[in-house]
């Protein structure tokens, strides 16, 4: 299958100022972080972003320049923590770097298998680098997949 990054449509609460303040009330914060986890996962899937590094976060995700509001670093860390907690990501370096699992490992395995079949590569020995960025995988779902 060939996939390109999809244009992303932000949810309506992304245009609402309080969404960018880490809520002080626990129950409300839990709901807010739930919404952020959904947003982060969907954004990473659409942008084909595998790693979120808070030292270099994607500009468009944690801030809305139209309001203008931005999530504080603490708030961003809380989002990553919540995402890891619900199994939506794996820590590469807590608390700032997370591998976002917007697709299950099984699904990735299936996608890899399809590329191997399409290119008649069964039985060949491929390096991890060839698998993620070789000519056979260009334009397919597995391009850019980190090791």
């Amino acid at each position: 299958a060939i996939l390109h990054a999809q244009p992303f449509s932000f949810p309506s609460h992304f245009h609402w100022a309080p969404f960018f303040t880490l809520q002080p009330v626990a129950a409300t914060r839990a709901r807010q972080l739930g919404l952020w986890c959904e947003l982060v996962t969907a954004y990473c899937a659409a942008s084909r972003l595998f790693v979120l590094d808070l030292d270099e976060p994607p500009e468009a995700l944690f801030a809305n320049t139209e309001l203008p509001r931005r999530m504080s670093r603490d708030a961003q860390e809380a989002v990553l923590d919540a995402l890891a907690g619900q199994g939506g990501g794996e820590w590469l370096e807590k608390p700032r770097k997370l591998l976002v699992t917007w697709r299950s490992a099984e699904d990735w395995a299936d996608a890899l298998e399809e590329v191997v079949r399409d290119n008649a590569l069964q039985g060949a020995v491929l390096t991890l680098e060839e698998l993620s960025s070789g000519s056979e995988v260009a334009g397919t779902e597995v391009e850019g997949l980190p090791a």
Binding site: S12, A17, P18, F19, F20, T28, R31, R70
Partner: protein, 216 residues
């Protein structure tokens, strides 16, 4: 006599009443004048003749779904206009249209679920009176309602700062802080506290006042 006639009319005009909100409103007015509640029992003569029991039951389910979908953000308080819009979206365009009165009647049948109270906060100044639906069992206390009213009058986004609330209600700071804090605690308001560098005052936003922004 009237009752017999009414049930005859009901049987003949069944399709018309379920299709037309104006006709439906007229029918309910006639029933009210006679002291008859067509929704009192889904097995009642009128409900059966008109299929109104099914109609309001289905609408009630759609109201509950819309309220449950929005409660995570608005804490269980929603503007009737927004609720109507969400319900109509759920219903789609192929079925009979419904209006605010229909939604209010359906809500009347939901009392057994707990909650589903209609609130009519006071309008201030040029702000038109609005109708809110509380779908959660806990009632809003008077301080929170007052803060909500002030926020509705203060800004189209439905937000207010502590200083603005003091000015609007003539309250001392502590009272305004307590009211806003309670609104946050009850989950019917969210805090907007931009960073100190941005030099903006913290504000409390009521999602039920944000209109189409949050409900779409």
């Amino acid at each position: 006599e009237f009752r017999t006639r009414l049930s005859e009319v009901a049987a003949r005009r069944r399709q018309d009443v379920t299709r037309d909100p104006t006709l439906r409103a007229h029918f309910h007015q006639m029933c009210a004048a006679l002291g008859v509640d067509p929704l009192a029992s889904t097995k009642g003569a009128f409900a059966a003749a008109l299929g109104l029991g099914d109609f309001y039951y289905e609408l009630g389910v759609q109201v509950v779904e819309a309220c449950m979908a929005t409660t995570p953000i608005n804490g269980g308080v929603i503007d009737l206009r927004d609720l109507l819009r969400l319900v109509c979206r759920r219903r789609g365009s192929a079925v009979a249209p419904v209006d605010e009165d229909d939604v209010l009647r359906a809500i009347g049948t939901l009392k057994a679920l707990g909650g589903y109270e209609i609130l009519r906060p006071e309008a201030g100044g040029r702000e038109r009176g609005r109708t809110l639906v509380r779908s959660v069992p806990r009632a809003l206390d008077s301080a929170v309602t007052a803060a909500l009213e002030a926020a509705a009058a203060a800004s189209p986004e439905g937000c207010i700062s502590r200083a603005e609330l003091c000015a609007a209600k003539g309250w001392p700071e502590a009272r305004a802080a307590a009211a806003l804090g309670e609104a946050l605690e009850q989950g019917v308001a969210w805090l907007d506290a931009p960073s100190p560098e941005e030099g903006l005052e913290a504000r409390v936003y009521f999602p039920c006042l944000s209109g189409e922004l949050l409900t779409g």
